[in-house]
Symmetry: C2
Subunit: 393 residues, 2 copies
């Protein structure tokens, strides 16, 4: 009740200096380069500062030192399990090193992103994390002009003049196609993200198509749709695919949200997944492991990606830009769960063969995986003890 409004205003370094008899310069040194001050004086200065409850003035500090101890991050949206985790990883890592995070999102608009870069640059940042590749050269010019280190994420480009941290979306998408082809699928559908202004979505479509072409399989336009990353949109898309005269036996979705929506639509229509139709996702958000059936997807280590981006940015603070940029290639893991299986025809044939031969071991779910990194189907479904492991983070 008594300590209400009349708290003293925050004191300045100079005030503390005058009151204590220690110069502002020394006080400043104690704060910024403690090793330059004799231990005894340093100790006294620290006491004085603490007793005064001194809080530095960031703007003054930045103006004089040309550093802000602030990193920027711009993502399409934070309302996404993937980007939220990336931001989380970035934020925790820089915070541990005394940096704050200036954050912005733009809902996949390059124009808004450009404005945000400008705004953050103006506000002052020592480094910046961006997502993807869709932006004009003026953005990179602004960054270079101000000399602010930056990384682009969720893609990998060893030829880029700046650090990238991510993976090859087209190649990863090819892996999904190859896996589906290997287990016997020949008629595919695609529910992708909106490729305009989203290089990841575009690359994933392109990679999938390329893999099919290599095996001489067509992907006609009516089997490819682009949708916002929402469950209802995916349901509509899946409904449309199922309305085709010859519906696909496998549907590749641009991410796990779309896959989840596609799955729900199938279940709602009482299609059996994966017996009648297979579905794949991308990202391995938590829901992909916990829904029923679990979604076959590629695991993106999002938190670690954020950490890596932070590390590159932090390193750039001390190291002069010598030599080529450091790129971080992130391995994705194909996680096979319950939404994928051989198509009905192949499965029928297999069953026929099996009953004809003597060996009637009912190995219902065993699948040949094309890549060494793929986990087995058994280790990633929903029994309790396995789910628990995935929460170790």
């Amino acid at each position: 009740m008594t300590t209400r409004k009349p708290l003293p205003p925050p004191g300045t370094l100079k005030e503390v200096a005058d009151r204590s008899g220690i110069s502002a310069a020394t006080l400043s040194r104690v704060l910024n380069h403690p090793d330059l001050v004799r231990p005894e004086l340093r100790a006294r200065a620290e006491t004085v500062l603490a007793e005064a409850g001194y809080v530095p003035h960031g703007a003054a500090r930045s103006l004089a030192s040309r550093k802000t101890r602030t990193m920027g991050a711009i993502v399409p949206t934070v309302d996404s399990a993937l980007f939220a985790k990336i931001v989380d990883g970035l934020q925790q890592t820089i915070q541990a090193r005394g940096y704050q995070l200036l954050f912005a999102s733009n809902n996949y608009s390059p124009a808004r992103e450009a404005a945000e870069v400008r705004a953050l640059l103006e506000r002052g940042i020592d480094g910046l994390m961006l997502v993807g590749t869709v932006r004009g050269p003026e953005v990179y010019d602004m960054l270079r002009q101000r000399g602010v280190p930056f990384v682009t994420t969720c893609h990998y480009d060893a030829t880029a003049a700046w650090p990238t941290v991510g993976w090859d979306n087209a190649a990863e998408s090819e892996r999904i196609a190859d896996y589906l082809l290997d287990i016997g699928h020949r008629r595919f559908g695609v529910i992708a993200g909106q490729a305009k202004d989203n290089d990841r979505a575009a690359e994933r479509i392109a990679g999938f198509r390329r893999a099919l072409q290599k095996r001489g399989i067509a992907l006609p336009p009516e089997r490819v749709t682009e949708r916002p990353y929402t469950v209802p949109e995916a349901r509509h898309a899946m409904a449309a695919l199922l309305r085709l005269p010859e519906p696909p036996t496998a549907v590749m979705c641009g991410n796990d949200i779309l896959a989840y929506g596609a799955l729900q639509e199938c279940l709602w229509r009482e299609l059996r997944v994966p017996e009648q139709i297979s579905i794949t996702g991308f990202d391995n958000i938590e829901m992909a492991a916990h829904c029923r059936p679990g979604i076959t997807t590629l695991h993106v280590p999002a938190f670690e990606l954020g950490e890596t981006a932070a590390r590159l940015l932090l390193d750039a603070q001390t190291t002069a830009p010598s030599g080529p940029p450091e790129h971080a290639f992130i391995e994705l893991e194909l996680i096979v769960r319950g939404t994928t299986a051989p198509p009905p025809a192949v499965e029928r044939a297999r069953r026929a063969r099996a009953s004809a031969s003597a060996t009637s071991t009912a190995s219902t779910g065993s699948i040949v995986l094309p890549h060494a990194t793929a986990r087995s189907a058994a280790s990633s479904t929903t029994p309790l003890h396995v789910s628990a492991r995935s929460a170790r983070k």
Copy 2:
């Protein structure tokens, strides 16, 4: 190739002034108070500034003007659909008004929060959004000393000396209890969030218990567990409840993630939900509508909460703190979906009565809702056309 490194360094206002013959003071006025400058000169100044590609220096600006055009937000975690949406709403709203967002998370640690408040204050913010009530008075002191307006969210306290935007967690939890009691449940379990350092979790337990007490029903300790907000934790908790000699017929969960985990555990054990056991959530994150069965929960308008917090903070920039703080009370809506129904015994009795009487209309899911705001069960489950509506945002 040519425009590589040698981009000119960013120019200062003074340089532009010297080059153009317009004084720095006037240029500054054009930027900050355009109406104080004669239109002709203003036009010329704007041209000059644009041609120079002038970008203001935020730190210098803040130092001179004592404003940062930056808001702070500190939440427990951004890896949560709820807080992500809140941050999104806040960020979009302040960005539209030319403000940037300094963002931090602390994983429910008040100590880390205090450090973050200090760090943000130091970096310079014009306003701050916090979550909940668990923090020491020194945090409020820092804020008041620096004169930085702030709001606390996700709770409502009309007696607080600063603005709050949220709801009464205990009262809302009572609503859930009343609803479950009204449809006939008498034996309850609770899977709550960890109440230590989380006032929302604590209040929800307290409210639930209070509602039961009012009807003379006990809630013994072995039926209440506190868990981190993860699916596997909730599954363990539900497994433990089901192991009790007399398992609950209804389980209130601290949020939708816990409810989802509890639900999955039941389904995994082939318990029928809601016929054999009822489950409720809190928040109404998207998954609650899209899983099967849909989760009965309270709808928290998270994006709007963020917008409201932003509005209060923005208002505080211009208005002097006159009179009592403005509080925003947020109405939550009880959304009844497929995870709740009368308990087995009550249902059996109802069936018996129904078959005894002549009227055999099989009204399987119709429930008397205790509150006017509750939606009907029919309007919030998973058929496609309804799901689409919920994505209108």
